[in-house]
């Protein structure tokens, strides 16, 4: 049991469409970070949400946006999907807004854009 729940587990979308991915953090965690992992690559930081605000953003275009709710759960939205957005999207939760506090990862959402 990862403690972090992501939904859906798999998703197929068409170019130009929009997608919303969801994450429920581990109980007791208040911070959610999102990472994109392309095939054969390490995870790339998209952004982090803490206290319902985006606290830091990686090198991703504005098509990627997110939200954190009062219960600490989070959504990742991607607009105008491109083929290159096909990847595994990982949600990581932690207590506190530093990556040093230790992440708990979910199993990810596999997004395929066709």
């Amino acid at each position: 049991d990862a403690g972090v729940t992501q939904s859906p587990t798999h998703l197929i979308k068409t170019r130009g469409q929009q997608v919303t991915l969801r994450c429920s953090p581990k109980s007791g965690h208040d911070t959610v970070s999102w990472y994109q992992q392309a095939l054969g690559q390490g995870p790339q930081f998209i952004f982090q949400y803490y206290e319902e605000e985006e606290r830091q953003r990686g090198n991703f275009p504005d098509r990627f946006s997110g939200h954190q709710f009062p219960n600490y759960s989070s959504e990742l939205n991607v607009n105008a999907l491109l083929l290159g957005d096909s990847a595994l999207y990982l949600c990581a939760s932690s207590l506190g807004d530093s990556a040093n506090y230790g992440y708990t990862f979910g199993s990810g959402t596999r997004l395929t854009v066709v």
Binding site: G42, P43, R55, A92, N100
Partner: protein, 116 residues
């Protein structure tokens, strides 16, 4: 830009062999270092981490890693691997200054296969 290099992309070992996976990073300031593992069909899990102090850190399942500041390295070791160590191993770095410690920078990963 800061980066993390893992030298071995695919490693195949027999049980009881010794393991060393290389990791180097490019950043001259304070860093915090991590090794994560992903077993087949499972989520990423923290194996061990280094913040400060003794540069030899011990993690779960008999793994250890040594931080060598002069070499910008954080190599992972295990004296005797088991079949159950078959997994993907990722080295990750956090830049220690407060403004940049919200994210991890990851290597490409090393796929380890241990033959029984």
């Amino acid at each position: 830009a800061q980066s993390v290099s893992q030298h071995n992309h695919h490693v195949i070992l027999s049980e009881a062999a010794s393991l060393e996976l290389g990791c180097n990073y490019s950043y001259g300031g304070t860093v915090n270092l991590f090794w994560y593992v992903q077993y087949p069909g499972q989520h990423l899990q923290l194996l061990l981490k280094y913040f400060s102090g003794d540069p030899l850190v011990k993690g779960i399942k008999g793994f250890e890693a040594e931080f060598i500041k002069s070499k910008f390295s954080f190599n992972l070791r295990k004296p005797s691997v088991q079949w159950s160590d078959t997994a993907e191993y990722f080295c990750a770095v956090n830049l220690g200054n407060a403004g940049n410690n919200r994210k991890l920078i990851w290597g490409l990963g090393t796929s380890l296969a241990v033959n029984p």
